[in-house]
Amino acid sequence: MDKPLTQNIKPDLSAVTLDDYRRTGGYEGWAKALKDMAPMDVIEAVKDAGLRGRGGAGFPTGVKWSLVPQGESAGQKYVVVNADEMEPGTFKDRLLMEADPHQLIEGVAIAAYAVQADTAYIFLRGEYHLSARRLEQALAEARSAGYLGKNILGSGFDLEIHLHTSAGRYICGEETALLNSLEGKRAIPRAKPPYPQTSGLWGRPTVVNNVETLCNVPHIIRNGVDWYRGLGRGEDAGTKLFGVSGRVKKPGLWELPMGTPVRVLIEECAGGMRDGYTLRGFLPGGGSTDFLLPEHLDLPMDFGAMMKAGSRLGTGTMVVLDDRTCPVRMVLNLERFFAQESCGWCTPCRDGLPWVVELLEGLVAGRGRPEDLDLLEQLARLMGPGNTFCALAPGAAAPLQSALKYFRPDFERYLKPASSARVA
């Protein structure tokens, strides 16, 4: 029971059926919430458990729920699942949805009960065809078993969960752009405040949570706050899916306690670097987090420690940089993605990212000028948090600015004419 999120997942990654799910206590949390707990009790439990958002920002989930207006006058409310997993290097939600879809459905149901929403949407990345099929299947099972629908388990509470498959933009992972997209509008973020809890989907109070976040909820309700807090190794509670990709021996995904050191992930779980490669650095939480170095290997993977080291826990799925991959080209690859995925709403992101790409392309093509590195540094700074409308550009700036900090000689090497095309 130290790996609640993945406990049911079968070795062949086939979907856990309703019966399988129930065998290990599935939907007990849902039944308990409906029978024994008031909505506020659920919110308090999630708050006390210390669950923080697993989508990247780490906002305390219970606090988010408590900001939703309660009572008769609050009117229509929604729960929206952010399943638009598009962060470069991230594939954790996909596993949870493909292999154990009922766990997510139960989490959504409990969240909906907590905020008293009778409608929920799962906003799913368009390319996740298998997740879509398995979620549809699980939703149908849950409906016929009476876990969804009208007067669920005789409680008087109604809930319908709809699956919406995205048309495919990275920006839809930004929760307010997701809401716009779900409404059929252009996928551009909204200004905050007002937060979705006040004015979200169709202007109604809405909670948007990441898939993995919600998958934690049934376990908290079923097993209690103390149990959950005890799962964490460091300052944060619970377990988390951590991933490693790059030139390691066994790239993959593992459920481990929050606060597991980076070294455990890379050296034990992923089996260390492939033969002939050494570790130069890593993006700890996906493409939009800052590079960290081998010297950071003993840091725990939790929100505070990563922040302190100058990066972010992000999605907890790290991308490893080896010594035979050019960090400049790796950053260029990332920046092309971010420039492509800019929604076009605010100036620094829309026009700044293509400029970054232009400079990096010039650099690797041997057209770089010495002042370009300072310019790249300046552009990364100008696209920092608060300067842009949403977090896309600051996320794009993170690998760029940290690469300039840690791997500056690699950039400078491109400035020397003859060596432009060659990498060490």
């Binding site: 909204r190 200004a191 405040p193 007002p194 006040t198 076009g344 829309r350 010039g362 100008l382």
Partner: protein
Amino acid sequence: MANITIDGQTHEVEAGDNLLKICLSLGLDLPYFCWHPALGSVGACRQCAVVQYRDESDTHGRLVMACMTPVTDGLRVSLEAPEAREFRASVIEFLMTNHPHDCPVCEEGGECHLQDMTVMTGHTFRRYSGLKRTHRNQYLGPFINHEMNRCIACYRCVRLYRDYSGGRDLDVFASRNKVYFGRFEDGVLESEFSGNLVEVCPTGVFTDRTFSAHYVRKWDLQHAPSVCVHCGVGCNTSPGERYGTLRRIVNRYNGEVNGYFLCDRGRFGYGFVNSERRIREPMLRGEPVSGETALTHLQGLLGGHTIGIGSPRASLEANFALRELVGAEHFYAGLAQGEASLAAAILEVLRHWPVHVPSLSEVEQADAVLALGEDVANTAPRLALALRQSVRNRAFERADRLKIPRWQDAAVREAAQDDKSPLFVATPSATRLDDIAEAIYRGTPEAIARLGFAIARRIDTNAPAVSDLPPEDALLAERIGDSLAAAARPLIVSGIACGSLATVRAAANIALALSNRREGGAIDLCYVAPECNTLGLAMMDGRSVQEAFAAAKTRDVNTVIILENDLYRRADGGAVDSFFNGTRHVVVVDHIRHGTAAKAQLLLPGSTFAETEGTLVSFEGRAQRFYSVMPGSGEIRDSWRWLADAGAKRWANVDALTAACAAAFPEFGPIRHAAPPAGFRIEGEKIPRQPHRYSGRTAMNAHRDVHEPKPPDDPDSALAFSMEGASVEVPPALLPFVWAPRWNSNQQAVNKFQDEVGGALRGGDPGVRLLESPEMPEPRWFDEVPSCLRDETRWRAIPLYHVFGSEELSVLSPPLAERLSAAYAALHPEDAEKLGVAEFLAVRLNERLIRLPLRLEPSLPRGAVGLSAGLPGLLRTDFPAWIAIETGRGEP
């Protein structure tokens, strides 16, 4: 109030507003793009960045966008902090990575907000060395050019066109740095407010295509404060002239009237001033004569019985001069019979009933609206735009409850979704307000009037009852009545163009019923007047063209003097012809050749609005002064001067005439204060009509005379046809154009002329209201509720109006003429089928049979024939109520 600190200076300002607006209102130069006082904040462009500090000890601060920052007590910010300045310059640098360096050939140059902001932020050196993205441009119709490469993606165009104006066919496509603002395919922009794109676009993506045809830089245009002559709303305009031709019209801000926006008829309808159809010299029996000969001849005609016919498109002064020339008892207002009787009924209500005619800014405050009978979108488009804003009041209330500031535009719209304040539209056929209406009613004018009477009765049971109302109409009347009664600021809109006295009276009854529920408080009531001075002329004298014809039958007329009026638009052609046949001498003073001018023995070249001064009274009862943009060329004279010079009364200047007019009609007393007098001076100097950068003064006449000519005198105003004079602290009514150091674009420079940005002009918005404090004897209900009997032998004629086409002068503008259709008749498809007509319809108007192309209009009531009003081929707007259809004669 809140005390805030900006760069160490403390200011006491309104709490809750956004910091950008506050900074601009304080006179600080803070660059911005995506914000607009009428459109609110969305935080897209990131141009208005400032540094905000937590408290006095915080020296680091953080960047925030001023437009998205609510002002709270103790707020500390810096505009000048190096990181703020660097960031603002960098935003321009980002925008410039794609913006072409085509200022020398861009028509926005010289009044470009992007140029201004670029200079203001200090971005001067280009570091981006890559390729610029390019776009394909679109054909958007005769009004607007499209040059997408210049786009800086501020999103103001789509927010104005879609969110503010309700347009559907302009949108933003694609994403990242490829965002594209245009139509889904090439084609004419549908919205009648498309011209505002020209001013709202901060750069040269959308420019004025009519201006392109004879383009000059803004600084080379001579301007004057003017008032639009193409409907009764009285929007303030700033027309520009060069080399004797009127080149364009831009908005002139008036916080109470048009604010920042005009309709396309007003903006692009100016071409008649330059038209081939201008009357440029006096003509006596078809031969050109000198002005003096013409005047002498006119004086000779005045001996016998002389009558004068005035015009609702001429100024009060010109009409009054005619009235003085022929005598009050021989002066006819020149309105059609139907218009005149409706105008008289309206004036009775406005003068004596507990009603208040709201300004457009007050219209926007209404929280429940009933449009009764009038197709406002076609007869008074700018009013329709104000009504479109009024339905947002419920959104604002919801935003208040959610603590979302009203200026946070996208958030307010998101929170409100489709929740709107009620607008009820009861018109004979579909209107362009239907899309925001809570309920729509279609019926004949009688049915609409009956609905109106029933609404009044629902609100106040003392109002006359309506018998035999269909049950569904009765339910609707209850719904509308209850909605209006529950509103804090209900508004009733009707008008003259609906052609139904009963409707006008029903609207008044509703207002009275509402007033009775609030112990006599004045209720907002708008009656749309079709022309720029209909209301003013009606206040002067209500007698119609038809009454002139009738009088001519009882006493032979020696001479009729017709002022700026084509009688064929006012009366049946046969009646006009027989009037002319019975009149010995026909004298016409006008600026445009038309059917009536063709009948004149003596034709005198009068002035358009661009060449004369005068006062117009809008539907609001607001008297506003307009000024000549340029002197009349050649023999063109002020219309009033021809009339004044012909008679014994010699007024020294237009002020003297205005004063005489005010003295003759006590109600006109305030018009003398509509604008400062001709003798007004600033530090002893007149106000220049030309910007101080006006070029070519010494060269533009050099081919005629190398000596620089003295600028023409202007005895009629405090304005000078010159670039010299005083241009600071100009009273708003005399502002020819807006310009301020560092602010060259019209929509933005006006910030510098307001104490509160988006509020009144400093010194007060121009115009004086004439019907301000009505005497209120006990009004008596109008109790003639019309019956709604169908006449099986005749058809109810219903005038159908067109924003582009129904107005006389604007259709002479070639770009606008491209938007016209020919005259037509319309029937409900089932009526057409019953009659067996498909392509043409023959109707008998008076004794004449007219064959018109047929349109099928499913929104028309059964038993009605819609007739296009004012379109070429069927000029009259004043149809008989009932007409006959000749079947079997329509098809070719």
